[in-house]
Amino acid sequence: MIELRAIDRTFRVGDSEVHALRDVNLRIARGEYLSVMGPSGSGKSTLLNILGLLDRPDGGEYLLGGTATAALGEEARARLRREHIGFVFQSYHLVPRLNARENIELPMLLAGVAPRARKQAVDEVLERLGLTDRAHHQPSQLSGGQRQRVAIGRSIVMKPELLLADEPTGNLDTRSGTEVVALLEELNREGITLLIVTHDVALGRRAQRHLGMRDGAIGTDTLTENPGARG
């Protein structure tokens, strides 16, 4: 489903060049559950951004569902993001003036989905996230865990195949974090491809496949036969 071929990404910081990614090759199959770990500056966020089409590689090719993305224009990349990729951020990134329902609805609003179809989809998402009674709360009236659940709701309302989560539990207490991870893993079991970037070793170990990043390259790529998460 996903294939990275010889991806390079360089940032210019002042006079020096920083190789955030160098010659990264990666294949991800549909339905996989991956964690990306590594020290700060190892390039894991850059990898996530490239996978999410938020950033462009300087070299190499990225195939998403068979589509070569390197040469695509902004419009086409935006459409791919909209239809195939969901994002979950550490700091939720909810729009403060919109209530929970409206935040979840936002991607469909931008995509121009008809109101009736929107309502149905959002109702379903609210129902399954157990947020129906919080639908009209502003983000400021919600707890951290609830906010992240709303953010996850927003990321899946367009039914993407790929879910990219950047430190999804970073701002949450242990209990809320566990709930959020359980939700993400449940989505993965239903078929969504899940990639989590994290510092948290315990969270990282739960995935079937662990990518260890070091100096802009994938240092280790290990599969766990019997993931502890499923216990």
Binding site: D55, A78, R79, R81, S91, H93, L106, P107, L109, G112
Partner: protein, 402 residues
Amino acid sequence: MRAADLLGFTLLVLRRQRFRSLMLLVSVSIGVAAVLLLVALGEGARGYVMREFEFIGKDIVVMFPGRKSTTGGLPPVTGVAAREITLPDLAVVARTVRGVDAIAPLVIGNAELSFGSRAREAVVIGSNADFFPMRHLDIARGQALPPLDLTVGSPVAVIGATLERELFGTRSAIGAWVRLRDYRFRVVGVLQGRGDSFGMDLSEAIFVPVASAQTLFDTQALFRVLFRVRAGADVEATKRELLARMTALHDGNEDVTVVSPDAMISTFDGILRALTLAIGGIAAISLVVAGILVMNLMLMSVRQRTAEIGLLKALGAPGAQVRTLFLAEAGLVAAAGVLLGTGAGYAGSVLLSLLYPEVPFQVPLWATLAAALFALASALLFAWLPANRAAALEPVLALGRR
């Protein structure tokens, strides 16, 4: 994105940033109202002057001393002042210029008018019987000045209604003797209504025979002369003939000017129209200022909402859509400002009309449309830069900032 959703989303943004939106709204509406009000003032002035001219009548030509156009050379060093127009000149003109069937000379001055112990400063107009029909002035009571030979004075006077009220109270002035400087005049008629003329209130004027006024002010010179062109005669030809005759009388010096209302109307119309456009244009600068305010506040908004812009992009909004969102914001506020400003402009114009009923203030449709278009164009144009900046934001960088 659907238009209704775009509207809803934008309204939410505007409601959220209430102070900012309100400031934009007020600045745009002040600009629009200013344009409309100033244009209304200009149009009112134009209408007022035009009406005054039309009051004179198209068959009247006016002669006054001096040339309206200069030769471009140096002015004469020694006092070669323009010769004055005198009553003997008019006697010749009356005899020789066939296109003219009535002549009303004018001598105008100020003098203290008194009756008994009451006195006040009044405009004294020396003229003749023909003046009244030529200027469409009606006599309320009594009669107009008697038809006399121009050179013959007579101690009779017609006074305006205001003068009568101020000097005589509720009594009638007819038959009373009033005093102008050292001369006494018997009031034979009272003018009807206000009789406005070029801002001069004729209801505060006293009319005496022209020869008497010349004696009163000790002058031979005439201030103006009105000629009525005989029905069927050509106005332009008559003007040329009058000018030629006066030039011959003044030893070959072309030192008088003859104008017809038509020429004056078109000249004044042109001048006042240009003036209206100019003040409208000056007021339009306030719309540019409003546009700059739009730009600054939008730049602020882009900066504050950087993370949101990044999010929208991550959720699949292309740059063009982000730009549309910001332009919609500016456009919506500008449109509301236009509505509010137009309302205020029209209300102000109505208020002016109530305060000064004699001036026909009105907001022309072209000004309304032009102000609306200009306000919208200015807001969108100035919003373009911030909107583009938002559209060009890298989603990664935008998301990173909080």
